[in-house]
Symmetry: C2
């Protein structure tokens, strides 16, 4: 168990094989003995530690290499028979993997929800692997179990603000759960709706409960035609996966739109009532805060009331926007989230921790018991093993990254970051509005916005007919797609694209640039550069010429 | 984007607040500027890099601290308002978390499937966080996408051994998938059975498919009373979760036992046929390789034939035992796995990578299409985004840890490790057999075994009646539980315990020590010490005395 004892012992029991061969001696070294300080991997590590930005800018070269080209390095389906030295493998990784990665830390990477991370996450990652705890049970995680419970409690508190007695009673209770750490928002959404389903269709009288009987039997015994889930069309695609995997079926996703394609409460109530009158039961209303594509936030406060009226579960998917609660200035946008039964938050989004830290939080600490399960060797009755109410089994100690972030950045630190992102998004929207060649499609509520290129002459104010806009938009779509691809391939910056129904065009679906201002290191200058580059690409495109000519023809 | 440019820029736009306050300046430093080499976190990191065993043995002190005692450090449900310095937070972590963790790297930690890891995983973990790719889509993962596909292909090849044409055609195909990386075996099992369910109940004629209609409607339209899944009782508890979450219901888990509580093929056929005659449809037979509690492996080859006969899916849960395929010497134990439709393997078990690397492999590259889904902003039709067929959404680049391990250890290296574990387990079984005060309950097939303490006089050969053994076993159970707990609390070594139906006692459930010999650094000497410690604890227990007296009374 002790380092030295262990090391000396190893060399006694090695199998004697020549050095070039596969040998236990070589393997034991790989398990215990780091290479010297000059090894490639050690150098990579030091460079990462010293300055991750510099490491990435030096190695993650944005080359115009096509995916097909890269794939050539990853063709062999055979596991190599012989071992390789760590150092020579590290060389390969640098050349063929790292150099062809995406620099998600770059301030000009503003297309997705992945951003630069505080540097302390690098050593923490190493500590996590060095300890390699398994959070499914206390026997392989000890102090990590209360740490995870406390972290969930802090997040619960941020959302639901219960009193001290509440947390005193439930934070470490073996019989309750304030939430579940998950690998990501999708699992958090599935977990939340699984809990909701199993609670609604729980054991009652002679009915053993859906967990035992299955859905078909539950519908029969409870006389339900169908279960449904309601959300706006802009709900994340993981809701579709959830309703599929849970056996409810995608056709039972009721989507309604309101202003900015959010879920309209009075419509929701009406549709929900009619749905239930027809012998169906609405399982849950899902409020989105905010949508992945535009960042819009559903009217949570009113939707909570609708859910109450319909007697269904209220889940809020705040995977992206949940961190807005850190900001006293902007948390009003999420008003009503405290009325939710369950909330999804991804810490690896606006809480700036590495990929893999989703959370489902449950307002009522009893609710997760609807999915409680046991086994003989762990998760025994009465144990505090975290795995008793999680969808996943073995899990690593990701909660540590959130715990440390909450302490090192503090609520105050998070507030500054959130405010900065939202305000930069507003500033960017203004820049787009001020430019005659861009058109803002959705203004930022949080730090997301969408826009597109569009020759000045084609401004909506020029009063084209709806019909001619239908055609024009198709061409502008092609231009936007082209610009997005070319900019991505040029590799200096990255803006994503999506297709949304645009309110200003009678809900015609159009293609837009999608910007997520997550990286605190992104500056106005960066944004100016991105617009400039897009305009240059657009103007050199033949579609730009033809679109301009169309205008000329019209006013001629 | 470049390190220096970026750094200098930051100091221009900082908000001027005094140093003790929350400030963007402080935050930007936390995002970009590592502390100096003398900082606590830097020291932790170096110590981990230099010698992880030494770090753990120095810090992870096995103290007799109760969970309740530890919880006192994790009581506050309030997120601190003010930020903390990284260094002082690191001190807290060392004192309150690391020191109270479980030393899963210890050679005498032989109770669960978590073991020491090759040291190169520490710098790799840092690289992963440094790059922070998101594997759901190519735009945030680029070269990691083909790397993951190749890794899945290698594992597919290890199991299914298809020819070069096959891998040439499917390895990087946008329309096919050889498998899915998952956070763990539970998600891999759920994914496999989700694919099976959606394929069996896929669109047919006027039926839109279960993914759209839901289970209840699918049963009605296809005239199915119930779906069922068949496995031995020793199937992992995640199968229960899978059948629950998928809406099939735990009552529809058909369990049958055979030799060593494995799934008996002729029984399986008979029960399956009868089940289907009653208007039900068997969705899948799940073969276990090997069970979490004893390591037994179902007769996969024959079960594959039974599944074919019953026209159902054949899934193999090889989360633990799958790595046995690396060993030419022992892979025959898993004969028939190549006939499976899907296979679960956890690389974080016997493939020695950090927690979080489960895989579901699909023999038929078309099958995963039964759960294919799209979104507007990613996972577009025809894209090679990995997220199109996975249950999870955003995921980190865990595949890298497997990719690197396959290259650095090689198939040959893995074979040595697997052989060593199995052979050490056999040797340990022999040691137990040779000791008069221990009783081997299940002999190792892979590297798992179960046993218990039992005063020599109570040996089964002494021909107690079944009835008296029923009572004796209850007392031996209490003794075994006590010994296991005391040994765990003493903290020098860890053996887990479980409760299994023991064949030698007419399937009476008894409590046993459970040993998993995963750590390649565990020696015979370690095992001798563990037995010695258990015997000492047992012999000082009052139950030991009374059990011995009972014997004396009997022969008197």
């Amino acid at each position: 168990m002790k380092g030295l004892r262990l090391r000396s012992r190893l060399f006694v029991e090695v199998v004697n094989l020549s050095k070039a061969e596969v040998s236990l001696e070589h393997l034991f070294k790989v398990f215990t003995k780091p290479e010297n300080d000059d090894s490639t991997l050690a150098k990579i590590e030091r460079h990462l530690s010293d300055n991750v930005s510099d490491f990435l800018s030096r190695h993650v070269v944005a080359q115009k290499t096509s995916l097909e080209e890269i794939e050539k390095d990853y063709m062999d389906p055979l596991i190599p028979e012989a071992p390789d030295f760590v150092s020579s493998h590290a060389e390969v990784l640098l050349k063929k993997l790292v150099s062809q990665s995406v620099n998600t830390y770059s301030p000009t990477f503003i297309g997705h929800m992945t951003s630069s991370l505080p540097y302390f996450h690098l050593p923490l990652a190493k500590l996590l692997v060095g300890l390699n705890q398994n959070l499914v049970k206390i026997e392989t995680s000890k102090a990590f179990t209360p740490l995870e419970r406390q972290t969930l409690g802090m997040m619960h508190n941020l959302i639901f603000e219960q009193n001290d007695d509440f947390y005193g009673q439930y934070l470490h209770s073996a019989k309750h759960s304030l939430g579940a750490f998950c690998s990501g928002g999708t699992i958090a959404n599935i977990t939340s709706l699984w809990v909701a389903r199993n609670k609604l269709l729980g054991p009652k009288g002679r009915f053993a409960g859906v967990a035992r009987t299955g859905l078909a039997s539950a519908y029969r015994q409870l006389n339900i035609s169908n279960l449904g889930i309601m959300a706006s069309k802009r709900g994340h695609y993981s809701l579709g996966k959830a309703i599929d995997v849970l056996g409810i079926g995608r056709d039972n996703m009721l989507t309604i739109n309101g202003d900015n394609h959010t879920l309209n409460p009075s419509q929701a109530l009406k549709v929900g009532q009619e749905y239930q009158k027809r012998g169906n039961k609405l399982l849950a209303i899902v409020g989105i805060a905010g949508t992945t594509e535009t960042g819009h936030v559903d009217p949570l406060d009113e939707l909570a009331d609708v859910a109450k009226e319909l007697e269904c579960w209220f889940h809020v998917d705040a995977a992206w926007g949940g961190a807005t609660l850190f900001s006293d200035k902007y948390k009003h946008i999420l008003k009503g989230i405290e009325k939710a039964d369950s909330v999804t938050i991804d810490a690896h989004k606006q809480m700036y921790v590495p990929m893999g830290a989703g959370m489902a939080l449950f307002k009522n600490p009893h609710d997760a018991n609807s999915v409680r399960h046991h086994a003989q060797y762990i998760l025994r009755q009465g144990s505090k093993d975290l795995g008793s109410t999680t969808l996943e089994g073995s899990r690593n100690g990701m909660a540590l990254t959130v715990y440390s972030s909450l302490h090192i950045l503090g609520k105050g630190g998070y507030e500054l970051l959130i405010n900065k992102s939202i305000e930069l998004a507003k500033r960017f929207a203004q820049m787009i509005d001020e430019s005659e060649h861009f058109e803002l499609i959705t203004a930022p509520v949080l730090s997301l916005l969408t826009y597109r290129v569009r020759p000045a002459n084609l401004a909506k104010s020029n009063q084209f007919s709806d019909e001619s806009y239908r055609t024009l938009n198709t061409e502008i779509d092609s231009l936007t797609v082209s610009v997005q691809k070319q900019q991505r391939e040029a590799g200096k910056s990255f803006v994503s694209r999506t297709r949304i129904e645009a309110q200003q065009y009678n809900d015609q679906p159009i293609t837009v640039f999608r910007v997520v201002l997550a990286n605190p290191l992104t500056t106005e200058e960066d944004l100016k550069g991105i617009l400039q580059e897009q305009l240059e690409i657009a103007q050199s495109h033949k579609l730009w010429q033809s679109l301009s000519q169309k205008y000329n023809a019209k006013i001629a």
